[in-house]
Symmetry: C2
Subunit: 306 residues, 2 copies
């Protein structure tokens, strides 16, 4: 068994899976003994990517059975493996806000780039380690997924530079066509239950001692998701009660037009809405131009509760 | 005025000052507009270094008057500038344990290397930015100071490699002779008041909601410091009352023989002593082989209160 497990956040998205596989490969080339695993089943978008590049999904773990672990694409306890408090984190590669505490120094690298895959590209390059074609394909896909094909406001010039380099190593000639297929693969919501929709990409955040859940689905057709509002409401309220969430914000993002609508069920709706300079009407709020939870949803909520 | 201030921790040591100056220079070469400042007066050891390389001490600030700041050689709020909660941290370069929280993504690089100067050397190298001779001299000194001339258990192979490279750029031919002079410059404790001794390199730590102060002085003669025990005790107890510290551990380190003795005044002395598998006798405990607060004192205390 590998000495260290490498994993992304719970409810893994494509960047979490790609970064875990890429970071594990990178660290092994540097002499470590690691294995990439996942804190949950891969989603439809990631399955499209794994199929495309013929890579097996990492095995799913409930608890880490190694003493030492590497975190990618997250750092907060609430988003990590269940027994994280008993483990030693030796490395973090991440591009999110930080809420992190350790008792010893460690390797921690975060940058406000579009994806963790973009950050890892920099480490491969710095150390002159060649990226295998399949891993470059995964990293390309993590970058496309997290930046919505460079349309998200989280996109940086580094991402715009790295996407071409990864595409070239991965042998993807038409990045736009590949990227749209990838994003669309994650938008087939009709087959999914309401529970699947609200679980899909949801993350837990702590603001001023309260626990909020923020979910997000990508679609090309917001109205078709909103047709299921009553059933979503029921699922969200049940989830709040079951998990003890103070509130649940469910963001429905139109990836073609770069807009979102959000549903909210929980305490202090007016306060939550004020973070976005709006009001909930029938539990729903327009979020024009909003596509990034990390850059456009979490920071105003953090500031609101600060 | 520069748009961003760059600073190390309160009660700056040589690495905090060197890293601030080096990081500011590095970031300015990358196109930023920063100024290195200090959160306190430079100590005797650092003054020796600044004299040696003819560099002016950075100006001392009480509060940061820029919106954005860069932290070097620390990350914890309790060790940072007084108005840190109102500022946006854009970059962190550090080699300590992490207790850090932000509302937005940022650049954060930490590695368990011997000094922050060692880490910055890697960034200069990665980006092909030449290190000016004087700045290399400061970085060399930060590395020597933090690793006690490579004798501290925090020393890594990277430090052993980088020390020669910095010495060569800085034009220091005999690193050992220079390093011993540097370390000795910080051990002239006889002219210092007890208040100066306990303030000197002290840092505040939060363990399980309690506030502890851990000070450290380097010496070549522990008994001569212990002769002042009654006066030190008085100063420490007064400081605990004034600042509301739950306890104060004052570590006296023999830099030639790599041993320490510590005095402790505050609550739960038996619990504190148990972290080091010992007992306080006349408020004092032997810490054989202990020279590093970061690696040999803070982690057992953190684990104790976990």
């Amino acid at each position: 068994m590998a000495k260290e497990l490498v994993f992304g956040h719970q409810n893994p998205d494509t960047d979490a899976i790609a970064a875990a596989i890429a970071a594990s490969y990178y660290l092994n080339q540097k002499g470590m003994d690691t294995e990439a695993v996942a804190l949950g089943k891969t989603n439809d978008e990631t399955n499209f990517v794994l199929d495309y590049f013929s890579v097996e999904a990492p095995r799913v773990i409930e608890k880490a059975d190694t003493k030492e672990v590497v975190l990618v694409d997250h750092n907060e306890t609430a988003q990590s493996v269940s027994n994280i408090e008993d483990l030693t984190v030796t490395h973090v590669f991440d591009h999110h806000k930080i809420d992190f505490k350790t008792s010893s120094p460690l390797f921690y690298h975060a940058e406000a780039l579009g994806s963790t895959s973009t950050i890892l590209y920099g480490f491969f390059k710095k150390d002159g380690i060649e990226i295998p074609k399949k891993i470059a394909g995964l990293m390309l896909s993590g970058l496309i997924s997290d930046t919505l094909l460079l349309k998200s406001p989280t996109t940086t010039n580094v991402d715009r530079d790295v996407i071409g380099k990864l595409a070239s190593i991965a042998g993807v000639d038409d990045v736009n066509a590949y990227g749209l297929n990838l994003l669309k693969a994650g938008t087939n919501l009709s087959k999914k239950s309401e529970q699947d929709l609200i679980d899909g990409d949801a993350k837990t955040f702590k603001f001023a001692g309260k626990t909020f859940r923020i979910g997000q689905v990508n679609t090309v057709d917001i109205p078709s998701v909103l047709e299921r509002k009553e059933a979503l409401k029921k699922a969200i309220i049940a989830e709040n009660e079951k998990q003890g969430f103070d509130g649940f914000l469910f963001v429905i993002t139109d990836i073609l037009n770069s807009n979102s609508k959000a549903l909210y069920y929980g305490s202090e709706p007016d306060k939550i809405a004020s973070a976005f300079n709006g009001k909930f009407v029938d539990d729903s709020i327009d979020l024009p131009g909003v596509v990034s939870r990390k850059k456009q949803i979490v920071p105003p909520l953090t500031d609101l509760f600060h």
